[in-house]
Amino acid sequence: MPEIIVTPQSLVQTTNGKRFYAYSGQIGVDNTQQWQMIDVDNIGERDILMKLEMGSAETTTVDFTIRVLINSVVVYIDTINNAGEQSMAGYNELKFICPANASLAIEVISNSTSSRTLTIMAHGKYLSID
């Protein structure tokens, strides 16, 4: 079996071709720039429903601003943190539709000068008729 390459630059299709996933891996984020967690040049020829979760193991409270860009247009922006007992797991899973043949980027910037490690897990389904 060929090895499946999981990178932040592509959506990996499941073997039945109905779903996909993408993982950012661990990325250090600070306040110097928008850090691209996921950056897919072309999502493919089908519309998708994407679901994503952001996570951080940082013990210090940090605010992160996440934004979603489709064809370089900002369609969603929000601020999230890992404060106290709440953790990022309390954040609603973010779900959105992305049209076929679009570019998709998930970017994050923090309000901290120190680099903080973040991860994003994303998965979803192709919006077919069945």
């Binding site: 934004r67 929000d78 309390g90 954040y91 973010l94 539709i97 309000n111 077919s128």
Partner: protein, 131 residues
Amino acid sequence: MAEANQFGLSSLNQLDTGIGWYSFSGLVSASTNRKPVILINNTGQRDSMITLTFGGAVVTGGDLNIGTTSNIEVVLGGETIYQNKLNSVDMGNPFNFEASLFIPRNSTLIIYVTDTDTTGSHTSMIRAYYV
């Protein structure tokens, strides 16, 4: 390369397969005036199940300790059927919300946002499936 942007902001965009539609407001500057951020004159000839996602007012790289309060309103056929306040002050996640509702065919749907100040920008998203 991806195609040039084909979707319109604030309007209804059909899925290729015809099973539903979506709409994005795009970035809208916060205002104390009641602003229409998504305006759909006709939702189509089939009933829809829609989910609205709203992130509140955001300042890129901002500090949640400062906080901000926004109101979002769903108006269907001229009637307000839902409104809610989202407060992003640092009292624990989540700082966004989703609301789902059925809307009848051939409806006019407007999403309004009002903020308590002019700090930051809003984004609103709708994903919809015909039922």
